[in-house]
Amino acid sequence: MPKKIISIISFLVVLLSSPVSAEWLQKDYVTFFGTTDQTITVAWNPSPSANYYEIELNQVEQNTKTILPTGQSLTDTQKTFSLPKTGHFIVRVRACNISINQCSTWASSIDATVSMVGSESRAWWIFGYVAPPGPIVIH
């Protein structure tokens, strides 16, 4: 089972402007802000018995859960990806073993007992804005 999920995210920090229920906002999450054309790298501690890992993105506003399509190929302990749409996302990671065909329980980025921001144990999530168009050309 992965012990810690560590965020390595290079998003810019801007003001929150998306409607999210008060229940969510009362939590002490570190929010990483960015646009959905940017990439995010999430890392975690290795699990000794794991052959591969799976990552799930939970879009909070629409309560949709998407497992990244890595199959059994994700053997590294980090993954870089882009958000599939705008909104708040919780990241979950689990360790899997091919020979016994089983996976661990999910380690969630909003669980401060298993999540980290830098070297600090902190819960975190991500907010992705729509990326703006390119520069205007007039002719």
Binding site: K85, G87, V130, P133
Partner: protein, 103 residues
Amino acid sequence: MAKIKSVTVSFPASDSPDVVGYKLYIEEAPTAVSYDSLSFDLGNNTSVDLSTLEGMAAKKGVFNLGVSAVDSTGNESDMSLSDNVPLGFVAPNPPGVIVITRS
């Protein structure tokens, strides 16, 4: 009928995966363009001839422009901006009557 010169605004598409369209915002300078400015829904188009937009006819002056990307739930991106663009969709008065003089 007078001939109005076309002015085309174009921009590269947003790289976000769930963008469904774009909005163009126009504000007369020196007022900064904002999400409350006069706006036009461009659909999926990343270029538009300003002279064909309803409400732009007979406008003349210096304008600030902005374009935003819109996702499937209606969220809008920051705007890409172009400030102090001179635009004029008013044709000058025609010359006077043609007079042909024979000598």
